[in-house]
Symmetry: C2
Subunit: 259 residues, 2 copies
């Protein structure tokens, strides 16, 4: 199994604090040492870092912990290999382009005998069930909506449908973003928190690190952090229900989309 | 204009020496300070780093200069913006997937009124003529060869044709790799060198750095380096002819492919 971390904000924010705790699970406080990756949207561009070394000892992960890259949408992943060898091409998140936008995807869980028909428009490079699922989602999405990105309600409804279709093959905790919205689906385990004014301090569970968010934010900032297991010991995280999908835009859950 | 750097080897090799000289042109010894990028194939995977900061002062470029990433195919680029703003999504190299492989592309030069019809299978995310050309190449390539990667002679012949078609719109110095071959096309300026046994020492032109390749290689190693302007002051670089295409595999020019 693996762990997922996502961030969605209304203003570009760095993920140094959360990633520091998360990366520690990549070989020190937890066993997810078969590679890791992170993707940051910056405008329409994406900074994408993957490494098959454990996150806890990777020089690239070390850079990410020191470099406050500002982003409104981030997806990160630490891997414990189940399907697919420990190789760079099997590290999440995966990136593809559709409709002139980048799409970023990461998955936690195991899909059994998931072999959808792929028409060649999006094909996996590696050997994971996860990348296969991502390619299938993009293929069906383009098939369904043709040549233009649909409005968020239509897109959400489509993604909810296909996520539950894929989840029937096993465990499908996933995060997907096109740089505007962060789509999340929970099969078994996912938690989130919204940090907004008035900001408080928080302590990481996996490292001796404390941050006073009031010092590094403005009153208008709003940040949603979504993660497999809560990252802090002194905040209240909300657990997703099994089968639940949530969409985050500007640091807010878009509940009306899934009413 | 911009500058290009490519490496193709018969054994995974690090590009630290060449990149160190090259990155210095990204704001210090030359004016290419509007972003930079580099992509390394590693197995079928790709490590892709882009930054809109000048290469000479970017913390990510600094990491690349220190981290000996081993790769058989590398493409790097430093940008001086002509078309498209200084934004992350306009930084080369660009990456797309086709036939379950990643393709990496970088371009130096300006294309005038180049507006090919794109059917939606590959679309640019940014606003450069370069990314448009890359998407057009992939679209036509998949259109021409259907669902499978063709053999190298057919692929080379196709790429030579489309490169000269695109070059009719302006300047098209470019590098393209699928992780096996490195395809290079010269409109105006490109140089290459093959380093092989017996190895010698070399001095960078842009930095006070010397390397004794004999100390860091085995007698079987063969490394081709292709670059806009020669990187070393004491080696003999071969200049491409205008309109020339060269394909490198295992550190060797595949002359028979273009006979």
């Amino acid at each position: 199994m693996c762990q997922l971390l996502g961030m969605n904000c209304n203003t570009p924010t760095d993920i140094v604090f959360s990633f520091t705790g998360f990366a520690t699970r990549g070989g020190r406080t937890d066993e997810h040492k078969d590679g890791w990756g992170i993707a940051f949207f910056e405008g329409n561009g994406v900074r994408h870092f993957v490494d098959h070394q454990p996150a806890v000892s990777s020089p690239v992960a070390d850079l990410i912990k020191r470099l406050p890259i500002q982003s409104k949408n981030v997806i990160a992943h630490i891997r414990k290999a189940t399907q697919g060898e420990v190789m760079l091409e099997n590290c999440h998140p995966f990136v593809r382009e559709c409709w002139g936008r980048y799409w970023v995807f990461a998955h936690n869980g195991d899909l059994k005998e998931f072999a959808p028909e792929l028409d060649g428009s999006f094909l996996p490079v590696g050997t994971t069930d996860s990348e296969r699922a991502f390619c299938f989602i993009l293929q069906q999405m383009r098939h369904r909506f043709g040549r233009t990105l649909p409005a968020l309600p239509e897109l959400t409804s489509f993604l909810r449908g296909i996520a539950s279709e894929i989840a029937a093959f096993g465990t499908f905790n996933m995060m997907l973003s096109n740089g505007e919205a962060l789509f999340t689906h929970c099969s078994t385990k996912l938690h989130y928190i919204i940090r907004q004014y008035p900001f408080t301090t928080a302590n990481l569970s996996d490292e001796q690190v404390t941050v006073d968010f009031a010092e590094v934010t403005t009153p208008d900032d709003r940040v949603a952090v979504i993660v497999t297991e809560p990252l802090t010991s002194d905040e209240i995280w909300t657990q997703f229900a099994p089968g639940e999908m949530k969409v985050f835009v500007d640091g807010k859950v878009q509940t009306e989309l899934l009413a």
